[in-house]
Amino acid sequence: MLIEVRFHGRGGQGVVTAADFLAIVGFKEGYYTLSFPTFGAEKRGSPVASFLRISDEPIVVRDEVYYPDYVVVLDPSVFEVVNVTSGLKENGMLIANYPKGSEDLKTIVKNVEVATINATKIAMKILGRPITNTTMVGAFAGATKLFKLEKLKETAEEVFEGSLAEKNKLAIEEAYKYMKEVCRWK
């Protein structure tokens, strides 16, 4: 089994941290994991991407993810500038922070299974900042059922400190539960 995920967003939203976070969660769940950023002079606000591989055998390949099983989008505005679904596998899935909802997104992104969430709203409500990485981590886990909620929370406690850990745990949980409901038919 090898699952490949590509994350898109803008510099400052925690696109790299999202992939790193899930690499830790995957490791806790007993998988081999590898996450890495697109390497560049990332600037706050510019489109960035990161990658995640999860496998039940050691991961030796380090090329970029060209044919992802999942694409996770942290910022709705990147659809205008990046072809985020490039190479997405036929039975793959796009999980996006897209406040206008999945029907609206399907008019832009065709022939792709889509699950959307208003992650910006959740992040603003709980964290007070439009940093959507942990919310989308929760959404990814809820949509894919790859990871258990308690492993996500456990990781949040290791990655963040004090009240920030608590807030991120709340954001993760809300998104996880929401997305699990959205994708219950899967």
């Binding site: 390497f39 390949v61 380090r62």
Partner: protein
Amino acid sequence: MKKVVRGFYSVAYAVKLCRPNVVCAYPITPQTEIVENLAEMYANGELENCRYITAESEFAAASILVGASAAGARTFTATCSQGLILMSEVLFNAAGMRLPIVVANPNRALSAPLSIWNDLQDSMVLRDAGIIQVYVESNQEAHDMIPQAYKIAEDKRVMLPFMVCLDGFKLTHAHEPVDLLEQSLVDEFLPPYRPEVYLTTKKPVAFGCYAPPNIYMEFRVAMQRAMERAQGVIEKVFREWAEFSRRDWGGHLEIVYPESRNFVIAMGSLVGLLRKVVGELRKEGLSIGLVKLRTFRPFPFEDLRRVLGNAEKIIVIDRSVSLGYEGNLSIELKSALYGLSPEIISMILCLGGRDISKENLEKILRNAVLGKEGSGFKGYIEFEEVVP
């Protein structure tokens, strides 16, 4: 203990376990976080009997380490690309003074044009310096290589600087599980550094003196002999490490599918992808094996002649080029196989961080084995060169 960490932490943590006495560096992407991690450990009081010195340039960093190493300290620095070539004047001296400084070099392209991304051009510049060069494939191998580097470099039969070359970004910025070594295991494997000769007021000596024609050549002959002895010392330490850590990374070479008629040879993290690609091509019925070259200096020419001497075709993957000739590994391999008859196809790819997909790599290797792909640069966009 297995932990999900970034590549630079796996290097920094291994350095800490080796109990360095002086760490000195100047930041440069993608190396910076190696020494940032060490600086943090130093600030937290986790590095005993150690001084962390921030230098004003790579040239100064290397110079400080030459002094420290000559005084008997175990030393470490990390740099790459422009930083490495700025250090080069000093590093040639360090080798000549027989100082076992360990340098981590997260390989990065050279300017101009400016590129912070990965290829192997920077360490190739240091090929002739008298510095041992080993290339690693993964962060676990990088982590494991640091204690071995000190043990080899500080061996009385060797006494030369050691460069651990790991792909910048591809490894340094990758976040993955690494089995971090225990202090007790490293302490048992790596004895404290006790040089025979060092700077002390009790018995004054000088390092790197003026050597007129009646003596200079003998120093260089001694360095060459040390490199020749290093071949055996490296093999011995690699074997010892395999027993100690229960992780066997092979010798100067790792050979996958040794009974093949054709081979691909490469260094560094690209070997991981090649493992998959070679596996796929074998499923198609092609007779192709893989040689991972770990030690680049001293160059293991005898091993290569033994393993590759009877091959039909060898595809050399280079990620650096000696402009005006060809790929650097290709040059070395052709020289090592002199008088033998394998056909050699030299491919230069992935310069300045250009990624290559599994599919593309598979295609060019398949075509090369089938005689439909020749030597040269691969994976670049055809363009019209403006010649004034």
